[in-house]
């Protein structure tokens, strides 16, 4: 009764199990003590492979990564780059894969994580080695703004990642040809936005091109920033101060505005990612979309011309505030090839690396000494704004939200929409709990 198929299946399972064992042996006993204290990198040129984990799989993101890898290969010629990319916007698939690898004790040498609270999940789990010594050796303390250094320094005084870029989240995009046909001027307040949306709707198009759960959190955070203002918004994620702001009447007002915005959204919002949602605007089927500045890279890679085929502004009511997020790379504890990983991180923090990566990724460099001439039309405005604007952190992209909080927020927001976006009080209470989740 023991068929050959079963035997084949068992031997396959055995092979998989053995493969898992051979790479899964190392535990936290390895190089944990070689951190910041004794730290530093060895003098010999690193060689071997470096496995870098990210979610940059397509479009401008993949092009940016490829350019960064080219720069890395020049700086660390003997190291082979192993690209461990898992596709999915905002890392919504990649993070799960990463968790299972970290749990199994087989971390990549370096992985992508948003600077800020998102890193906390990994720091507290003891998965990251402090990289202060890289900052010293590569002069990164002087290359980044004091603001950014402060934001990436943790309560223990250590820094755990090297930011490669700064993205802006609070942007609204539209199609200038459609706007001029309809006589719409760029809205600067929420009221103006609603007026413009009514005009678009009257013309028979969709008001706002919107995507699935995380894109809805993305829209929500811009609305919150617009109504609450930067000071109150920045309290939302702080335990002890955030609760009062979440419960305030201003927040209710913001959520009502958000619910109203949902009524202008495309019918298939829950079923599409951000890029198809933005495409609705380019195709003239929707008036606006609210998305981060990776949209610019996406549009450019489609061969479109800024201010002709697409235009942008800070989300209405948020001018003068830069809602930021930063992609950064970490040094895994027990990195299989620590020296190569350090070399990768230095390349990622270098001027050459950042100037290769960012113009394609559609973000501004984390460094202040970049060659600004390399950057396109949108990024020029972003570089200027970054120097003068106040800062606010993004929930949707982990600057001020742990991985757990991001997941909870997506659930709460998609629940609200799926139940018809009417029960504001329930929404408000659940959001507060989700945003502060650890």
């Amino acid at each position: 009764m023991f068929s050959t198929r079963k035997i084949a299946g068992v031997s396959l399972a055995l092979a998989i199990a053995l493969a898992g064992c051979s790479s899964g042996g190392s535990d936290s006993s390895g190089s944990t003590d070689s951190g910041s204290s004794s730290g530093g990198s060895s003098s010999a040129a690193p060689s071997g492979e470096v496995e870098v984990f990210s979610w940059w799989a397509s479009g401008g993101e993949a092009e940016g990564l490829a350019a960064l890898v080219d720069s890395f290969q020049e700086q660390c010629p003997d190291v082979e780059f192993v690209n461990a990319t898992v596709a999915g916007g905002a890392g919504f698939n990649a993070k799960a894969v990463l968790v299972s690898r970290l749990e199994a004790g087989t971390p990549p040498d370096s992985f992508q994580a948003h600077a800020g609270k998102e890193l906390l999940s990994y720091i507290e789990a003891g998965q990251l080695e402090p990289v202060n010594f890289i900052y010293e050796e590569a002069g990164l303390y002087d290359a980044f703004t004091a603001d950014l250094i402060e934001q990436v320094t943790y309560t223990d005084g250590n820094i755990y990642s090297v930011p490669v870029n700064i993205h802006r989240s609070n942007l609204i995009w539209w199609n200038p040809k459609v706007a001029s046909e309809l006589g719409i001027t760029p809205p600067t307040t929420l009221d103006e936005l609603f007026t413009a949306l009514d005009v678009v709707k009257a013309a028979g198009a969709t008001g706002i091109g919107l995507g699935t759960a995380w894109a809805q959190v993305h829209l929500l955070e811009s609305v919150l920033l617009s109504v609450l203002g930067v000071d109150d918004y920045n309290k939302l994620h702080i335990k002890g101060e955030g609760e009062a702001v979440w419960a305030s009447a201003k927040t209710t007002e913001a959520l009502e505005a958000y619910a109203r915005l949902l009524t202008y959204a495309n019918a298939d919002a829950d079923g599409i990612d951000w890029a198809p949602a933005a495409q609705l605007v380019l195709d003239g089927q929707a008036g606006f979309t609210v998305m981060g500045d990776w949209s610019d890279a996406q549009f450019l890679s489609q061969g479109l011309t800024p201010n002709v085929d697409y235009a942008w502004a800070p989300f209405p009511g948020t001018a003068g505030v830069y809602m930021w997020l930063s992609d950064s790379f970490t040094l895994s504890n027990n990195a299989p090839n620590r020296d190569a990983s350090i070399c990768w991180l230095k390349a990622a923090g270098s001027q050459a690396g950042q100037d290769a990566f960012n113009p394609k990724k559609g973000s501004i460099p984390a460094r202040i000494d970049s060659n600004e001439a390399l950057y396109g039309e949108y990024l020029q405005t972003a570089l200027a704004d970054w120097k003068t604007d106040k800062l606010a952190g993004s929930f949707a992209h982990g600057t001020v939200a742990t991985n757990a909080a991001q997941s909870e927020l997506q659930t709460v927001v998609s629940e609200f929409k799926s139940k018809g976006a009417t029960d504001i009080a329930d929404f408000q209470a659940k959001l507060a709990a989700a945003a502060l989740a650890e």
Binding site: F2, A96, V99, L102, T212, A213, N266, D268, G271, N403
Partner: protein, 297 residues
Amino acid sequence: MKRKKTPHWLPGFLVLLPSIGLIFYFVYVLLFQNFLLSTTNRKGINSTGESVGFENYAQLVIEDRFQNSMQNLLIFTIAFIGGTMLIGLTMAILLERGIKGEGFFRSAFIFPMALSFIASGLVWGFLMNPTTDANAGGLNWLLQRIGLGSLQNPWWQANTWGMAALALPAIWMFAGYIMALFLAGFRGIPDDVREAARIDGANEFQIYTKILFPLLGPAALSALVILGHISVKVFDLVVAVSFKQYRTETPAVYMWVTTFDATNFGKGAAIASILLIVTAVIVVPYLVSVYKGEQQK
């Protein structure tokens, strides 16, 4: 010299031993570990939790989100099993009558099962686009073209009953398989039985309802169990069509999100244990009846 004779069961046992060992560890030991994990509050990568007894279960049972996922699963299961059985049986009856090109139709109907849930989910995701009228795409566009525009609907993005639409790709994939099961069942019934019934004056309808369907019982039971356990565990189809979101969240998706996105391992393990129990409720009675059947032979 006296040679000890090998017991007759030993060679067979030795051949089976590796698989017994593997299944024991990878199924039963891990099941037990999962259960232990579900009684802790372990949260965060590489953390250690403390035992909290059945608190995770107690919280889940009263939780709105868990109830929502169970309701979604129930609607999905009813639509999936009902639709698949009905269509599969209909196709089997049509083919059983010996039409021309039976082989072609049989292959054509079974073919969708060769696809993965991910692949068909992606395509059906496009087909079930909820936009209507001028902007319509996929099935809604098709309905307009054939003059059934009034049937346009938001598919899985409809509130409450959207999960029934999510069962469409699964029905499409598995109806052919159920057809094959029933067809084999029909073929297993000797022609003598039908002829005897005809001689006794039964009409065609009566032959089906009184003779053939009762004899299809075992095939129907197998079909129900196979579909039932696929349905309870549904994950990839849901994620391929709708990503991860509240509206279409099934317990398996909820387990995944809780475990890997929110790194709440204790709670995730509790959801997994509940799923196991639900699956067992479906599968175990079947195994018992099969076992009893074999004993009688």
